[in-house]
Subunit: 300 residues, 2 copies
């Protein structure tokens, strides 16, 4: 695998200094990566805080100026804001000296936005997605270790400039991430299954119980397992609204297969078919134990 030389990237721009953007900036700073980092956020206080905390070197709110002054520009804003941002950036980006990447949880909608705005998929566009997060959000939740030993998926096209891909790969590797390349469609399927569907199930469960329970009384008797299971239902609702609308098709596919499977489990329960239930539970435990070992190994 090729890597861009560090000296190819001297300046980085980050649009959006929430959890994802500010964690990237703070990680670069903490690890002493020699990059000048310029940033902006639609909330003025967030950008000022990122500056005050030393995560970024300078606040540059004018997008054309920010874009023209950096080697790599990271869009770290909610997925549905990307088309408008690309539109604003298009005149500056067209000269092709800045590599553009993003951190969106859905990549099909990013590809579509780029096609709509640029008329083609530019060679300097390298869509990306760090598989890391938290139920907390905003610059105050910035965590310099957020990407350490985590995966970042990049979805370049066949005609993406290899140097652009290498630059974005290098950036993420500087903050401890392991970078994987994947097609856009595969990314969106995989994320629908491992992230978007679980979030949907957790949001729906907590909402369902809350509606049934007088003054949330039922939650008084829930314990650690429920806390873990529903942690993802504390995530930012706006971000998830955007993700689901951006990845509706892949999410519906995997949701429908899940609902079919749940119907089978329901039938087994209604018929007191212990053998089928045991099969589901045993297979699930086996797979979960495998997954847990995977994560443990990755954590070193």
């Amino acid at each position: 695998m090729t890597q861009a030389e560090p000296q190819q990237i001297n300046t980085l721009g980050i649009v959006g200094l929430g959890l994802i953007g500010a964690s990237l900036a703070s990680a670069l700073r903490q690890r002493g990566v020699p990059l000048r980092v310029l940033g902006t956020d639609s909330h003025v206080e967030s950008a000022q805080k990122a500056l005050a905390l030393g995560y970024i070197d300078e606040v540059v709110d004018a997008l054309p100026e920010l874009c023209s002054r950096v080697d790599v520009l990271v869009l770290a804003t909610p997925v549905l804001t990307l088309p408008a941002l690309m539109q604003q950036l298009a005149p500056t980006l067209h000269n092709g000296t800045t590599v553009l990447t993003d951190v969106g949880s859905v990549k099909g909608s990013v590809r579509q936005a780029a096609l709509d705005v640029f008329g083609t998929l530019p060679a300097w566009l390298v869509p990306g997605h760090p598989i890391a997060g938290s139920e907390y959000s905003g610059v105050d939740a910035a965590d310099p270790s957020l990407y350490d030993r985590h995966q970042v998926i990049l979805t370049p096209e066949v005609d993406t400039d290899p140097q652009a891909t290498a630059a974005v790969r290098w950036l993420w590797e500087q903050v401890g991430a392991s970078v994987q390349l994947m097609t856009v469609d595969r990314h969106d399927e995989v994320l629908a299954a491992t992230s978007h569907l679980p979030h949907l199930l957790a949001f729906a469960l907590v909402d369902s119980l809350a509606q049934e329970s007088e003054k949330y009384e039922i939650f008084h008797y829930a314990a650690g397992g429920f806390r873990d299971f529903t942690r993802i239902a504390a995530s930012d609702p706006t971000m998830w609204h955007d993700i689901f609308l951006a990845n509706d098709e892949a999410t519906l596919d995997v949701l429908d297969r899940y609902m079919d499977h749940l119907q089978t489990v329901r039938q087994a329960l209604a018929q007191r078919d212990g053998k089928t239930l045991s099969g589901v539970f045993s297979r699930a435990k086996h797979a979960r134990d495998y997954f847990s070992r995977l994560l443990d190994e990755r954590a070193g």
Copy 2:
């Protein structure tokens, strides 16, 4: 609330030295509670290990002898083993000098088993359920802090001997638990919603993804949120098989309501109805944040 005086209980018996039974024994030992603890387990090695580790004072495998030598007997075995155990214990229990309790996650089936075996609900029977657990199981997973600041629900009937209830309450309070009284039906509804349903959803999700994914490849791209969400799918399959068959009705009720709600969410997604999705996510986050504060307060 009345409490039995500690001196009323001098000896405790534990049938089943898995996670729940061995954690109770180790917590009593660690906290220096002056009780002589006798125990047994269908796996001889588990009982010997609990003895070697000092969790219990003596292994007594003969159930009639164990029962006749203790003030309180805790049945800490899978829910579906309780009828047979009660049958074996019935001749000794009938003299009424031993208080019987259990730790089963379902209380309706325990009441039914008692009615079947004893012909009535004995005054010395105090069904119980510590709301605590782990994805690990067995004597090796014993954790003396498992019940600290956790809730234990007891479901005595109106004609249960108050001294028997007080004795079981006292026992759990010695290991740091907060004891709540509840009717059997309410317990089973509450647990179906906050524990049994989430486990069913998690088992079904992991099994569904595992079946679709060649060699579990999809799990390579899952991260922390998925780990939390599916932790409960690593729980002991046999135990959960028993729980679902014992609490099938209440679980089906809450599962059907959940599936209806999920169908509504699915429709909103299919129709790209962002307003409905936002409503679900925002209400869920509000409820989850409330629940999280509750747990934090309880943890002191």
